[in-house]
Amino acid sequence: MKGPSTIVQSASFVAADIGTRFRLVSEPADSKPRGTVVFVPPFAEEMNKSRRMVARMARLLAADGWRVVQRDLHGCGDSGGDFGDASWSDWLDDIDSELSRALDDGPVWLWCLRAGALLAPALLAKRSGADLLLWQPVLSGSQHLQGFLRLHTGARVVGRAPRMGERSPLQRLRAHEKVEVGGYILSPALASGLEQAAFELPTAFAGTVVWLEVSAAHPLEPSPAAAVAIERLRARGIGVESHVLRGPPFWQTQEIEECDALLELTRALLANGEEATVHAPRQGIARGMAPNAAR
C-alpha cells in the first residue's frame, strides 16, 4: 500500500440563500480524489463533543485519497447566522448543495453522525447515487428532540433554570415560540423539522449502507432499534454492512473522547467499498481489512 499521502485542507466561506457558510475541504495533495465524502453533522452539543473525532477522520480519509467536505450548517458557529435563526430546511439545503456538487465528480459517501442521519432520507430522495456511512445514527427525530429538551429539566433540577411558567419547552415550541435549552436558542422551524424526521430511506435508494455503532455494553451488539432498522433495510434488498465497536460515546461524554477503532474500520470499509462495492460480507471486519493491508 502506498504510504499515507500528504493532504491539503482549504477553508472558505461560500454564499447561501441567507448569509454565508464555512466550508472545509480536505483532500490528497498530489492525486485526483477517488471520490467525495460529504459530512453531515450531529445536533447541538453533540456536534461540539465530536469535533475532534470528525477532524481526525477527515484527515485520515483525505490521506487515503478521498476529498472530504465539512460544511458548517446555518447558525452552527463557523457559518453565518445564529442557531436560533436556523431551520431544518436550511440545513437540508446546505448539505444538498454539497451533495449535488460532489455527485458530478465521482463516487460519493454521505457520512452522517448521530442526528445527521435524520437529514439523509430527504437528501437521498432528491438525489440518488450516494452511498451512506452512518456513525451511531439517530433514528427518531421526535425522540432526539425530547432528549434535547430534557436538558431544560436537568438544569431546573440542579437549580440553574427557572420553570418556564406553566408550559414546557415543547409546548412553547408548538405555540411557535423560540426556547432556550442547554445554551441553545431553538426555533420552532428547526424543532419541528427535527421532530418530524425519521431515518426511513426512500424507496429509490440503491446504494450501500455502512452502519457503525460504538458501545460500552456487554455483549457488543447493535442497539435494539438499530437491529430492527437494519433488518428492514436488508429485507428491502439494501446491502448493509453493520459493525459494533467497543468505545466511549464520544458525541456526549463529559470529557472529549476518541475511538481509534472507529476511524480505522471506517477507512478500511471505504477503501474496501470502492473495490468490492455493494454487498460486503456481513461479518467483514477481518476480511474488509485484508485488501487494504495487502496493497
Binding site: G154, V157, G159
Partner: protein, 83 residues
C-alpha cells in the same frame, strides 16, 4: 427487583463514582454533595432509570427534591412503579 440496588448502580455508573470514596446509601445526600451531579447527569440518570425500570418520567414530576438524596430518588422510582 431491588430498587435501592438498581438506583445506586445507576448513580455509580452515570456519575463514575468510586465505591471506595462514595458510600451510597438511602440517606446519602446527592444534590449539593456530589459535584458530578450536573444538569447533563440528571438527564442521563432519568433516561437510564426509565430504561432499567421500564417507567416513563414526565419532566414536570421531577425537581430538586427528587434528587436530594438516594432515598428521595428511590421513593420517586417506587412511586412510579406502584402506578
Amino acid at each position: 427487583m431491588n430498587v435501592e440496588q438498581e438506583v445506586v448502580a445507576t448513580l455509580r455508573s452515570v456519575l463514575s463514582l468510586d465505591p471506595a470514596h462514595h458510600r451510597l446509601e438511602a440517606n446519602s445526600a446527592l444534590l449539593g454533595s456530589i459535584a458530578e451531579l450536573d444538569s447533563m447527569a440528571v438527564v442521563t440518570i432519568l433516561t437510564t432509570l426509565e430504561e432499567r425500570f421500564g417507567i416513563v418520567v414526565n419532566d414536570d414530576e421531577v425537581d430538586s427534591g427528587t434528587f436530594a438524596s438516594v432515598g428521595s430518588l428511590m421513593r420517586f422510582v417506587e412511586t412510579k412503579l406502584a402506578r
